[in-house]
Symmetry: C2
Subunit: 534 residues, 2 copies
C-alpha cells in the first residue's frame, strides 16, 4: 500500500489539493463558465466524529483500528455529497472502528463477531463509491458499525498464461494488480476513472465500467469466477469460460454491493498487452449527426476499444475542441494484428455522417507491448479523465456544485432522454443556482444503445449545498427514470439511487433479492440499507 497520504474529505492524494492562491486562480477560470458568480475558496473544517458505540474485541484488536483519522477516512465515499459533508467536518456516520483483515480467516472472524454482536459490517475497497455505498448509515437496528477495509488482501495469487487468467485478491487496487500482472506480460485493462484507488472486489461488487468502450465494458465481462464469504458459508464458483447450468451464480455476486457477502478473490480474464494501436479523433459540427455515426459504429461489428463521443461543452472543457464541435475519440487496439482495415472502415462510417478526421488516423505498433504516451485529443482526454475528480475537491472549496451521473438506454429513446435530461437539469440549475452548465459524453456504446455520462456545474448557496445538490440529483434521476434509462450504468445503487432503483427493478425481483439476502445474511448485518431492506 502507498504511504502517500490521501485526503480525509476529498478525492485522492492530499498533496494534490491546491493551495488557496492556486484555487483563487482556478476560481477565475471557472467563474466565466458559470456566468460570472463570485467564487472565493474556503478551507476544510477539522473532522468531528461521534464517540464509538462498540469497541473491537480483544481477539480482533490487532486487526482493528479505533484511530479517529482512520474512522474518518472510512466514513464516506467520494460523491459530491460526501465531499461536502467531509469538507464541513461532518463525519457523523463514522464507523465505530475499522477492521483491516490480512486473510480470509480474518474476514470470517470479523464477520462472525459482527453477527454475534449484531453489529453492521460495511465492506470497504477503495472507498470511491459515489452512491453512499460504503457509508454506515445503518438505521437503528444495530449496536454499531464496522468498516472492513480489504486492501491488505492485494496479491495476484496465480496466473494461468494458457487461459490468460489470474486469481487475484479482492483488495488489490488497479495499480497494485496491474504492476503484478505486468511481470507476466499481461494486463486486466480495466481502467475506471477511480482506477488508482478502487479495488477488484469493489469493481465486482458494483459492476464497474472500465476501459473498453465496446464488448468488455463492465468488469462483469472480465470475471471468470468469484469467491465470496457469506455468513452462511463460502460462495465459490467454478472457473469456467461459460456455462449453461442454471442461472449464472457469478451474476448474483456481480452488483451485490456488499449486501450478500464479502468478496475475497476472483479469477479474472486477462489481455495480452496491446502491440498495435490506431487512434483518431473525428469532429462533427452537429451532435446528433455524431450520435448517428456512433450508432452505426456500434452496430458495425468493428468493436473499437475507445468510442467516446464528447459533446461541444465536454470537448471545450477537455480541451479537444473550442469551435462548438462534438468530438469522437476513437481507438482500436490489438495484441494480434495491425488495425488499418478496422480504422479505415470506422472512418468511412464517421465520414458518411459528416465527421471530419482533421489530423488523420495514427497507427503505432510496438513489439514490446509497452504503454506508449498518448498524444493530441486522446492525451487531452485521458489526462482530463484522470484529473477530473481532483477538480471536484476544488469546486467544493469554491462553493460550486459539481457532479456527474450516467445512464444507458436503447438508441430509439436516446434523443428524448437526452433532451429531457438537459431540460430538467438546466431548469433545476437555473432555479436553484441561478445558472450553470451541463455536458454529455458517451463512455460506452452497445449495438442497442449508448451509455451517456453527464457532468453538471452550478454555483452553490454556501451552507445549502446538500439540499441544492439533492434537488439537482432528483431532477436528473427523475428524467432518466421517466424516459427509459437505467438509474446507473456503472456507478452502482448504494443508498443514493435506491428510490429510482426500487422503481426500475421488477417487484418479483425485489422479492427474490430479499429472499436471497435472508438466506445468505439472515441477521442482515451486511451493508444494511443497500439494494434491499429499509
Amino acid at each position: 500500500m502507498s504511504t502517500r497520504a490521501t485526503s480525509i474529505w476529498g478525492w485522492g492524494y492530499a498533496d494534490k489539493f491546491p493551495d488557496t492562491e492556486a484555487r483563487r486562480s482556478l476560481a477565475g477560470q471557472v467563474s466565466p463558465l458559470l456566468g460570472g458568480p463570485e467564487l472565493e475558496p474556503r478551507e476544510p473544517v477539522a473532522p468531528r466524529l461521534p464517540s464509538p458505540r462498540v469497541a473491537p474485541p480483544e481477539s480482533l484488536a490487532a486487526l482493528c483500528s479505533v484511530d479517529e483519522a482512520d474512522r474518518a477516512a472510512h466514513t464516506y465515499g467520494k460523491g459530491y455529497g460526501d465531499l461536502v459533508r467531509g469538507f464541513h467536518g461532518d463525519f457523523s456516520s463514522a464507523p465505530d472502528f475499522v477492521a483491516h483483515p490480512r486473510s480470509e480467516e480474518d474476514v470470517r472472524a470479523i464477520m462472525d463477531w459482527c453477527g454475534e454482536q449484531r453489529v453492521a459490517l460495511i465492506p470497504f475497497g477503495g472507498g470511491t463509491s459515489v452512491v453512499r455505498g460504503v457509508e454506515a448509515a445503518i438505521g437503528n437496528g444495530f449496536r454499531g458499525a464496522v468498516s472492513m477495509d480489504l486492501r491488505r488482501l492485494d496479491r495476484v495469487l496465480e496466473v494461468d498464461p494458457v487461459s490468460r487468467s489470474a486469481r487475484i485478491q479482492a483488495g488489490a487496487t488497479g495499480p497494485v494488480l496491474e504492476s503484478q500482472l505486468a511481470s507476466y506480460g499481461f494486463t486486466l485493462r480495466h481502467f475506471p476513472q477511480s482506477f488508482e484507488f478502487s479495488t477488484l472486489g469493489g469493481w465486482i461488487a458494483t459492476r464497474a465500467g472500465g476501459h473498453f468502450a465496446t464488448l468488455y465494458t463492465h468488469i462483469d465481462d472480465l470475471v471468470q469466477s468469484t469467491r465470496m464469504l457469506t455468513p452462511r458459508g463460502l460462495f465459490e464458483t467454478r472457473r469456467l469460460p461459460a456455462s449453461g447450468a442454471g442461472p449464472a451464480p457469478d451474476r448474483l455476486v456481480l452488483g451485490s454491493e456488499g449486501t450478500l457477502g464479502v468478496i475475497t478473490e476472483a479469477w479474472v480474464r486477462l489481455q495480452s498487452r496491446p502491440r498495435f494501436r490506431a487512434n483518431a479523433s473525428v469532429h462533427f459540427p452537429e451532435f446528433h449527426a455524431a450520435v448517428r455515426a456512433v450508432r452505426e459504429l456500434s452496430q458495425s461489428g468493428l468493436h473499437p476499444s475507445n468510442c467516446r463521443l464528447l459533446d461541444a461543452q465536454e470537448s471545450f472543457m477537455n480541451g479537444v475542441a473550442g469551435d462548438g464541435s462534438s468530438v469522437l475519440v476513437l481507438a482500436f487496439e490489438s495484441a494480434d494484428h495491425p488495425l488499418q482495415a478496422w480504422m479505415e472502415r470506422a472512418l468511412a462510417i464517421t465520414a458518411s455522417h459528416g465527421g471530419e478526421c482533421r489530423e488523420g488516423a495514427r497507427y503505432r505498433s510496438d513489439e514490446s507491448g509497452a504503454q506508449p504516451r498518448a498524444r493530441g485529443a486522446a492525451e487531452s482526454w485521458r489526462s482530463a479523465f484522470i484529473e477530473a475528480p481532483y477538480l471536484q475537491n476544488v469546486m467544493v472549496s469554491l462553493g460550486v456544485i459539481a457532479d456527474t451521473f450516467e445512464t444507458a438506454c436503447t438508441w430509439d429513446k436516446f434523443d428524448s432522454l437526452h433532451a429531457a435530461i438537459l431540460d430538467s437539469v438546466r431548469g433545476a440549475l437555473e432555479r436553484l443556482c441561478g445558472g450553470g452548465l451541463v455536458s454529455c459524453r458517451f463512455t460506452h456504446v452497445y449495438p442497442d444503445g449508448p451509455a451517456p455520462y453527464y457532468t453538471f456545474l452550478g454555483p452553490a448557496k454556501r451552507g445549502g449545498e446538500l439540499e441544492q445538490w439533492m434537488a439537482l440529483k432528483q431532477a436528473a434521476s427523475d428524467a432518466i427514470s421517466a424516459h427509459g434509462g437505467t438509474i446507473t450504468h456503472h456507478h452502482a445503487v448504494g443508498r443514493l439511487h435506491r428510490p429510482w432503483y426500487d422503481r426500475e427493478r421488477p417487484e418479483p425481483f425485489a422479492l427474490a433479492l430479499r429472499a436471497v439476502k435472508g438466506a445468505l445474511d439472515p441477521q442482515g448485518i451486511l451493508n444494511p440499507g443497500v439494494l434491499v431492506g429499509p
Copy 2:
C-alpha cells in the same frame, strides 16, 4: 404452426423416419463403425399412457387438450432416454392434460388454477430438452401435472429498427420468428441444432447456445429484457443495452428452466442480415495442434462467427475429411464490411500451427443480404448438423446407443479433461457395449477456454438400453465434473444433470436459489424437481 405431423416418440417430423428397408441399409453403414455388430431395425411400440388424475376445469376447457396423442407428445423431451422410452411405448410420465394458452391472460389463469389445485405446471416450448426438463416426473406432492405448451404465443409484436431489437412472444419457434423478422430485414441469427422446433422462451429458460462460435454464443447475449409471469406477479425488466443497477434481473430468468415462472415475451437484439461472408476449412494432421490454433484464434480479437473444430472421427462422420485430419470450419460474416483482413490474419494463425487451407478462403458479398447456399466442408457440416438428430431415431430402432454431451473448461484444463473423457467413455463403451466410438468437436470458443461437444455410439443390449446409457452418461459426467468442466455448456440441467449440477454450484448459491423459488413460487408448482427441490 406447421400441420406436418411430428413424431410422438422421436425427433422431428414423423415422415422423416426411414422405412424398414432404408433402416436396414443404414444398419449396414453403421455396423462397421462399431466393430461389426449385427443391427436389425425394430418398430416403435404403440404408446401406453396412464389415466389422467385430474381434468381441466370448465373455465379452461377450451384451452386444454386431454387427447392421448397430445399428452404423449408432451410427455418427454428428445434425449436418448426419452426416445427409448417412447419407442417402447412407455409414456408413464404423461401429463394429465395439455394446456394451449393463446395469451398471457390464459397463462395466468392456468397458473392460478394449478396453484389452487396443487397441480404441477410444466412449461413446454419445442419439447426438445435432452435433460428431462419438460417431463412431469414430479414426485408425490401433487394432485397431477399439466404441460403448458406455449407455441400459440408465436408473434413478433414489435420491431425497433433503430436499436435493432424486437419484442417477441416466447412460444415462437426459430423458423416462425425468423420469417417474421425477415420482412423487416433483420435476423436473430440464433440457430441451435433444435432451431426448427425449439422456441425463444425455451432458449431463454435453458440458456441455449446458438450460431455464433464467439462473442454472442448463448441466447443470454441476445436478450435485452424479459417478461416472465410468476405466481407472485409479473417479472418484467426494463429494455436496456446494459446497466449496473444491482445484480442483473434478466440473469435470474436466463437458465431458470421453468422453475420460477413462465416466460411470455422478450426483447431481443437483432442482427442485420450478413452481406459479406468469408469461409475456409483448415486441415490439421494433429488434433492438439488444431486446439492450439483455435486457442490463439479465440484470443486474437478476430471474433469469427464460426470456429468449429472437428476431430478426426467427427470429420470422417460429417464427410469433411477421411484421412485422419482434424478440420476447422472457419467463417466470418458481416453486414458492414468485407472480411479479407480478418480471414487472412486467421489463416496466418492456423498456418503457424500447421493448419492447411487446401481450397483457400472463399469470399462472397451479397448486397441483398439473402442467405446463400453453403458449399464444401461448410455445407457438409451444416447439413449433417441439422440432420443429426434424425439419425438418433434410426439408432434407437437399430439398437444402438447414440448420444451427445457437452461442457466448457478453461484452456489449461482442456488436455486432461479431454483425455479423461475419452478414457472414461471408451472404457465404459467397451465394458457395457463391447465397443463403440466417441468423437469431439468444439461448438463455441472463448478467450479463456473451449466448449467441447462429444458424440458417442455403442451397440445396446436390447431391453437394457436405459441402464447402459445411464452408466455411459455417468462415466462422461463424472469425468467432466472431476476435471474442471461444467456439467453443461448449453443443454441445461433439467432432471438428468441434477447430481452433477448440485456438486458444481456453490452451496450458498443453492440456498439462494431455493429462497428465490420459495419467494416466487411459494407452492412449488413450477417444474418441480428441476434446479431445486427433491
